[in-house]
Amino acid sequence: MRSIAFALCLLPGIVPAMDRATADSLVARATAAYTQGDHAGALALFDSVYQHWRSAGLAYAIGNCHFKLDQVPEAIVSYERALLLEPGAEDVKANLELARQRTMDRVNELPTFRLGGSWDRWLGGRDVDQWARRGLWGWSLAFVIAALALLSRGTLRTVGLSIAGTCILFALLSVGLAARRLRAVEHPAAGIVMQPRVDVRSEPREGATTLFLLHSGTKVSLGAERSGWVEVTLANGNVGWMPAAALQVI
């Protein structure tokens, strides 16, 4: 079914610049280089694939290469990307934790209501298109069931119509989730500080009061943007402005 969906994606003439076989062979070469300890070589190969192809496993591999090359902020960016593509992935979370231990800032997160990793997995999963596909199925099923119900009589008809209604609701919910997921992947609202030391200021201009200092590898939520400055929010709720150049959007 996946391959069908994949083929459907390709149908309207969207052909990636790098074909799948090339991408697979590059990934195999990069994995071999990584295994032999040539992390810089592996990184170059993985990056070339990432230009045209996306997957949580690929972003995770790039993060690992950066980590091995002691480029901790870049590694964190890649791990966060992998987590966006596959929320709740155990291996990514473990490595991200190790990478975070090497950063300087410790930000206490505000207590928020969070469900566990299995909920994340259920909501996200490895496949970004999962909810769009579920929506499609629910939608189609709803109309098939409705048609069947209209053909029958009595209780069967009532039951059938209510099932169809449920399917419609499920489909709409799925589309909503798919849209939310897509927005999170395509327009991530978080960034990683890349510069060793950044002043976070109260206003978007040089020389404004420095509210706090951030060091490379710290994750911030992104807000409004204004002439090269971006409003950032820390996990502990602190807000300030910093130059957009000091950040890498996930």
Binding site: R54, L136, S140
Partner: protein, 578 residues
């Protein structure tokens, strides 16, 4: 030592009196063939049992410090006569290298005797005092001075240097009352044991003045940090000219200060480098290669060579975690001499394998900086294989020890790459919002709309019973007369009437349950029952059948075939309609 003996028959002829004359020998010898620069050796040339003069040899660059001293002896014992003439030189060299002392020649009788050339080697002295130091010392005090000389002026961190403290004195009588050794900052020092301080045999001439020389002290220095390390002057206090009549006078002397250039070790140190500098070999041994679990095993790792042996720490053992180990016992066999520190240091580890199986220990590595090569080197010992058989199992220890242990986390590292399919997707393309997705969403809606339209039409038809019956009767009639219709189209006469006959008989028979024999107007009318037009219909049907039969068996057609067909259809439709 080279010696050459010549027997001259001529000698015997010249002195017939000496019936028991000794052999004539002429040789040259030195007391040492290798010495440090600045030291001196004795060269002795001896002519035995002959009269004659001999020439001085070519010293090949060595300089004569004293001499030559000539001596001769003559013995007459039990009628045997022997005589020797010898000449002694005290010679020295300041620059290291290899020197050849050429042959000396002697004319004896009518012949010439030659000594063998001698090769001597002058080494770079560890304690040789350079002329510059001597000149400086002499300028400080003409009668008494001390020098500190180093065997090398430029070394790496950890490389050994010999420091020699030498006293030069012109006082005939001197007592050393005290000396303060300079503080050695940045060095790790090791004394070289030279026994009692004594005056050297030879006097040393500096710019025409002769001095008595005594080496006060020799030290082995290991610089601990890079940079220019300075050794402060040595200060001594002596009492001179003390005699029975004189209490003597106190004289102070200072040495020079000296500096040592210490180069840092190169940056690309191998991982196991712990600061060993020198030239080492590394070996290991096990006291046995087979034992039971929980028995003890001794592993001895030995570092052999010269360098800062005493600073070598026990190499870290990379052992399987289920092997219990104890701190190593260090055993030194190190000698410290003017040539530096050399010998061996061995580490004995007590190991207790806890589980049975083949146990591979090592290989163990020792990394050091090789001074000669100017690069790091890593030497390996092992690996060693030990067969561990299961423990006796009867001992208390076996019972008290838990059979399971927690898995020990030794280190943390990131997890490895994903090994399976990476599940790649084209970048920037998603199902949601795509062409395919919109079509997929629209298709069921359109299909449902089509379904609704169809259903509506069905409902409308169901709401008109008369029309429906008409349509159904029509359908039945057309089905029955299909063959006849075909034949009509083909314009085939005979098959048309056969089909018509067959269809009418079949229809009426099936419809009213009448056999072919019973098919007549009366029976049909009965079968049609209550209908007002029953009689007319029955007659029409039988007429039609009769007309068909007639046309079938006789070439007589009552009506055109098309009209006949239409009539039959109409008849069936009317019969079908209630």
């Amino acid at each position: 030592m080279m010696r050459r003996t010549l027997l001259l028959l001529l000698a015997g002829l010249t002195w017939p009196l000496l019936a028991a004359a000794q052999e004539i020998t002429f040789d040259a010898r030195v007391d040492r063939t290798s010495f440090e620069g600045g030291a001196s050796i004795r060269l002795t040339i001896t002519l035995a049992n002959a009269q004659g003069s001999f020439s001085n040899p070519d010293l090949g660059g060595l300089t004569v410090v004293q001499g030559p001293f000539e001596s001769s002896s003559f013995n007459y014992v039990n009628g045997r006569m022997s005589s020797t003439v010898s000449r002694t030189y005290v010679i020295t060299a300041t620059r290291p290298g290899t020197y050849t002392i050429g042959p000396a020649s002697a004319r004896v009788g009518g012949g010439t005797l030659q000594t063998q050339p001698i090769t001597v080697k002058v080494e770079k002295g560890s304690g040789a005092t350079s002329d510059r130091l001597l000149n400086e010392g002499q300028q400080r005090d003409r009668d008494l001075f001390v020098t500190i000389s180093l065997s090398k002026s430029k070394v790496h961190v950890g490389e050994q240097v010999v420091a020699t403290y030498t006293l030069f004195s012109r006082y005939p009588n001197l007592e050393l009352s005290k000396y303060d050794l300079p503080a050695l900052n940045g060095f790790w020092a090791e004394e070289i044991d030279r026994g009692e301080t004594t005056w050297e045999d030879q006097l040393r001439t500096v710019n025409g003045l002769q001095y008595r020389v005594a080496v006060l002290k020799k030290q082995l220095l290991f610089p601990q940090r890079a940079g220019t390390l300075r050794i402060e002057p040595l200060r001594i206090t002596c009492v001179v000219n003390r005699s029975f009549f004189n209490r003597g006078s106190q004289v102070e002397a200072m040495s020079n200060a000296t500096e040592l250039q210490v180069l840092p070790l190169p940056p690309n140190a191998p991982p196991g480098m712990q600061g060993a500098v020198g030239s080492f070999s590394f070996s290991g041994a096990l006291d046995r290669d087979q034992l039971r679990a929980d028995e003890a095993l001794e592993l001895t790792l030995t570092v052999n060579g010269s360098g800062n042996l005493k600073l070598i720490e026990a190499p870290a053992l990379d052992l399987p975690p289920d092997v219990e180990r104890y701190d190593p016992k260090v055993n030194d066999r190190i000698s410290i001499s003017g040539n530096g520190m050399s010998g061996s240091r061995s580490f004995t580890y007590l190991l207790i394998p806890r589980h049975a199986g083949e146990l591979v220990l090592g290989p163990f590595a020792l990394s050091f900086f090789d001074v000669q090569a100017g690069a790091y080197r890593t030497v390996q010992a092992g690996p060693f294989t030990v067969q561990v058989t299961p423990g006796s199992g009867s001992g208390q220890a076996q019972l008290s020890r838990p059979s399971k242990a927690d898995v020990e986390v030794l280190d943390t590292d990131i997890r490895f790459l994903r090994t399976g399919d990476l599940d790649l997707r084209p970048a920037g393309h998603h199902l949601l919002g795509s062409w395919a997705w919109w079509s997929g969403m629209a298709a069921p809606v359109l299909a449902f709309a089509v379904f609704l339209v169809w259903r509506r039409r069905e409902d409308q038809r169901a709401a008109d019973p008369a029309g429906r019956r008409r349509r159904e009767a029509d359908k039945v009639a057309r089905r029955r007369f299909k063959d006849a219709h075909d034949a009509l189209k083909r314009d085939a006469r005979e098959p048309f009437y056969t089909a018509m006959n067959k269809a009418l008989h079949g229809y009426l028979g099936d419809r009213f349950g009448l056999g072919a024999a019973e098919l007549n107007a009366a029976a049909l009318e009965r079968a049609l029952g209550e209908r007002p037009d029953a009689a007319a219909l029955a007659r029409q049907a039988t007429d039609l059948i009769a007309a068909c039969d007639m046309a079938r068996y006789a070439p007589l057609e009552v009506k055109p075939r098309q009209a006949m067909y239409e009539e039959a259809i109409t008849l069936v439709q009317r019969l079908e309609r209630p």
